[in-house]
């Protein structure tokens, strides 16, 4: 059995280095920053091996919460405990949050003038399309793998939340246990 966490060939980073690395990740990503995290942590700094990054990512995707924030917590804590985790999250989140508040303030100040509302309508339509493509990309391997299990589970979650507009917690309480039970029986 391989060790659970195998660092890459690079030197183990300090809390400050973690902060700066995730600052770079947070500022470089548009519409999702995961590809940039791989580049920064694996390719440029060699803090993690490719395999270790993939497994950490899988872990972070099966935990609740924003995936990239989870990734910063897990990577930071493995190098420098709570201090590393806090430094990584702060690096990832602070600058983008400041920028987005500034953008929203500009939008409220100038958003109703001239052609800005039109630009916002175009942006919103494209943002919807991007989300549709993400759903399709996520669905494809699951439908190909086990269509009779994954299809109805996806459909049930979609219908409950999108069409019936039920609260998310009820839909998850209904769909998630069935999914885990079926996976328990089929996964070996």
């Amino acid at each position: 059995m391989q060790p659970p966490f195998s660092p890459g060939s690079g030197r183990a980073p300090s809390a400050l280095e973690l902060f700066l690395a995730f600052l770079e990740v947070g500022l470089s990503g548009f519409g999702g920053v995961l590809p940039f995290a791989r580049r920064a942590l694996v390719e440029r700094r060699a803090w993690l091996t490719e395999a270790s990054f993939n497994e950490t990512l899988a872990l972070c995707q099966s935990l609740p919460g924003p995936n990239i924030v989870n990734l910063s917590v897990v990577v930071g804590s493995r190098f420098d405990g709570v201090r590393g985790a806090v430094a990584s999250v702060a690096g990832l989140v602070l600058a983008p949050v400041a920028i987005i508040i500034a953008l929203a303030t500009l939008w409220r100040r100038f958003g109703t003038g001239g052609h800005v509302p039109g630009a916002m309508r175009g942006l919103a339509a494209a943002a919807a399309g991007l989300t549709g493509a993400t759903a399709l990309k996520m669905a494809r391997p699951m439908i190909a793998g086990s269509p009779r299990v994954a299809g109805p589970l996806m459909g049930a979650a979609f219908v409950g939340v999108a069409l019936l507009r039920w609260p998310l917690v009820w839909v998850l309480l209904a769909v998630a246990p069935v999914g885990v039970l079926l996976a328990w029986r089929t996964e070996r």
């Binding site: 924030v69 983008p96 987005i100 508040i101 994954a150 996806m154 939340v161 328990w184």
Partner: protein, 177 residues
């Protein structure tokens, strides 16, 4: 009208709960954020919600920041900070301990069943996010065509999504939509 303390408290509770329900990332809970922000608490309107989501997509950074903007719409900068911390805080604590458990149980059957059993529901939720955004954004045929074209390009090519946003925003700026 409710005091700002009430609003901050409601933001804290709602987003802390969503943080722990967001299996599959922030995009999976956008319909619930919409339900809470537009229908239950009336922090923003349907049209402004889609605009805020578009800003979150077009800005650099992680995609949970629709939460930041809903907090901002509800209660200004303090609201933005409270919503951000509530959306990230609880899941960060779970991730910290989850990583330790994962290392210990990574090869067990139930760990794999948990991960692969939750995944299909997550996809359904992201599809629900698409449905909701398209419903609100596609007010006319031209906007629906932009949504369809963007989805096709993003699904079929590896083009940076920023190009799609730039073109769509540019078309809007020139008055085409």
């Amino acid at each position: 009208m409710r005091s700002s303390g009430d609003t901050l408290g409601a933001l804290l509770v709602q987003f802390a709960l969503l943080s722990l329900l967001a299996f599959g990332g922030a995009n999976a809970v956008v319909p619930e954020i919409h339900r809470q922000a537009v229908e239950v608490h009336r922090w923003t309107t349907d049209q402004d919600f889609t605009a805020l989501f578009a800003i979150a997509q077009a800005a650099p950074g992680p995609n949970f920041m629709i939460s930041t903007l809903i907090g901002w719409a509800a209660a200004g900068v303090p609201g933005a900070l409270v919503a951000t911390m509530a959306m990230c805080g609880p899941s960060c604590v779970v991730a910290y301990w989850g990583a330790k458990l994962w290392d210990r149980f990574r090869d067990t059957h139930w760990r794999r069943a948990l991960a692969s059993g939750l995944a299909p529901a997550t996809v359904g939720l992201v599809a629900a996010t698409f449905w909701l955004l398209a419903h609100a954004a596609d007010a006319n045929l031209k906007l629906a065509l932009i949504t369809a074209a963007t989805a096709a390009v993003a699904y079929l090519t590896r083009l940076n999504p920023l190009w799609a946003l730039a073109v769509a925003g540019g078309l809007g700026l020139l008055g085409f939509v």
